[in-house]
């Protein structure tokens, strides 16, 4: 069996998710024994043309040129994977979607003639996507599980439920209940190992809505904690504000 060919594409992103591939240091060489990183501009100079078996797309889509590249990627990849929250939901770049485009641009640039930025979307707004690896950045463990499962031809086990589950499995002091800090864990997809709450920082929802996210109910509780509606809107419109679940949270109060 020949090794599956993997391509890594970069759209509007911080490159943190692709760095997580290199950050697999202890097993990186083993991984390279199992797959061919055929197209990975960040790590190699001679990149091989498609088609590829797996395409990992990092980043949100924020301009026309990216839409074209994304469509090409879709064509040349058997499996297309959204790598990280930018690619899954638009990620942090989608914050700008909630302010008038020109106003945001104006804050950064004087000469707007050359700016052709569009609403930031996750990649499935434009092309069908086969799998989503959530997180900002992606979880290396999930990435690896995904690759192994794909090699075996099975569906990977990616936790679909809330961060609270993992938070409890690690017996963290609940920041919401005990520290009275607003935490998006109850409506956010687990898989990070409840990383932030384990370090004393409330979850800010980087992995997007869990499979049964009840953002409306959580938003009501946030309001009951005395949060201003603008604060609540900010909580939900961060990494995954474009999802219908988190939109409901933002619009609940």
């Amino acid at each position: 069996m020949s090794k599956p060919r993997v391509a890594v594409y970069k759209m509007s992103s911080c490159a943190g998710c692709q760095l997580e591939i290199i950050n697999l240091e202890p097993i990186l060489l083993d991984l390279l024994g199992a797959v061919d990183l055929s197209y990975f501009v960040m790590a190699r100079r001679e990149n091989e043309p498609g088609p590829y078996d797996i395409g990992l797309v990092e980043g949100a889509i924020t301009c026309g040129e990216e839409i074209e590249r994304l469509k090409k990627a879709r064509q040349e990849c058997h499996l297309l994977v959204a790598l990280g929250s930018c690619a899954c939901y638009g990620g942090l770049p989608s914050i700008k979607n909630w302010q008038p485009q020109r106003v945001v641009e104006n804050r950064v640039y004087d000469n707007l003639a050359a700016i052709h930025s569009t609403t930031a979307y996750g990649i499935d707004y434009y092309v069908p996507v086969d799998a989503y690896l959530k997180g900002c950045p992606v979880s290396r463990e999930e990435l690896l599980d995904f690759i192994k499962s794909t090699l075996l031809g099975v569906r990977p086990y990616l936790r679909p439920h809330s961060v609270c589950v993992e938070c409890k499995l690690h017996e963290n002091v609940c920041l919401f209940v005990t520290e009275k800090a607003i935490c998006l864990g109850p409506v956010t997809t687990a898989g990070c190992g409840a990383l932030c709450p384990s370090r004393g920082k409330p979850c800010d929802g980087c992995r997007g809505p869990a499979n049964d996210a009840n953002a409306v109910s959580l938003a009501r509780t946030m309001a009951a904690y005395g949060l201003h509606s603008q604060d609540i809107v900010r909580y939900f419109r961060k990494f995954a504000g474009m999802t219908s679940e988190f939109s409901k949270g933002a619009e609940a109060v």
């Binding site: 031809g153 099975v154 569906r155």
Partner: protein, 282 residues
């Protein structure tokens, strides 16, 4: 101490492709002692492991009189079951079991037997048919109503003749006949066969297995024809991760499907609120 979670290694002896998405596998335990001691009753299931992929509950579909090589008829729908479709004779899987209650063949004084199956639901009932054939004089009228989506999806067609010869009345139906397929039999859902069946409520036990929605219509139809809830037995399916009443997944109200079932007397299910059943059996 005995570890009920540790599968025994079993080898795939033979593979028979039944339909486009269903295959019957013949297995045999590698360990001689395990192989010799293995016994099962019709309606029981095993937990089938593919190492590294997972585990799934699958009914035993072969003759209980030949437990040294037993069969599973598997529909390829998810991780374990699809991976199995790529395996070859000689490959090793893990198996532990048998688990669950079987069909109450020995428990009840059964005279007549009515078996109603849909699709893959015939798999856990095939051992019943085998056993009935082996013990034919003990039973009176035995009738099988079986429906599949298309003629090509009927399971075990090669055996129908033998069943009929053993004096079992077999009524078949299919939901649809794709163009180009030869089919002279009935077209329609299983319950459409009620009109042709000769079974009557008196001294008859009904065993049914299939999609829950089918079973629900079956039960309704039977009740309308004068059958009593106590006569009807259904086999249920729930998510299972252990098969031995530990993981909690398969609970329906106070019942564990893996242990109190998968075969339940319909009368028993009637004690539960409808919603608890979640499916459509009622």
């Amino acid at each position: 101490m005995f570890n009920p979670f540790k599968p025994e290694r079993a080898i795939i002896k033979d593979i028979i492709k039944e339909t486009t998405d269903t295959t019957t596998y013949t297995f045999s335990f590698l360990d001689e002692g395990v192989r010799r001691e293995f016994r099962f009753r019709p309606g029981q299931f095993n937990m089938l492991t593919i190492f590294g992929i997972g585990e799934a509950p699958i009914s035993i579909s072969s003759n209980p009189a030949e437990p040294e090589t037993f069969q599973h008829t598997v529909r390829h729908v998810g991780n374990v079951t699809k991976f199995l479709s790529k395996m070859q004779p000689g490959d090793i899987v893990g198996i532990r079991g048998p688990y669950g209650t079987g069909w109450p063949l020995d428990v009840l004084p059964i005279k007549n037997l009515l078996i109603i199956a849909g699709g893959i639901g015939l798999a856990p009932l095939r051992p019943v048919i085998h056993e009935v054939i082996d013990r034919r004089p003990e039973f009176g009228q035995v009738e099988v109503l079986y429906g599949a989506r298309t003629p090509a999806e009927l399971l075990y067609p090669a055996e129908y003749e033998a069943w009929r010869q053993a004096g079992i009345s077999l009524l078949l139906t299919v939901d649809a006949v794709p163009s180009g397929t030869a089919w002279e039999g009935q077209v329609g859902v299983v319950t459409d066969l009620f009109r042709q069946m000769s079974s009557r409520p008196g001294e008859t036990a009904v065993f049914t297995c299939g999609p829950e929605i089918m079973m629900s219509y079956v039960v309704k139809g039977l009740l309308a024809r004068g059958f009593k809830p106590e006569q009807i037995y259904v086999s249920l399916e729930r998510r299972m991760n252990c098969g031995v009443k530990k993981c909690g997944k398969c609970q329906i109200g106070p019942k564990f499907v893996c242990r109190d079932g998968p075969v339940f007397a319909y009368a028993e299910l009637l004690t539960l609120p409808e919603e608890v059943l979640g499916g459509a059996v009622r």
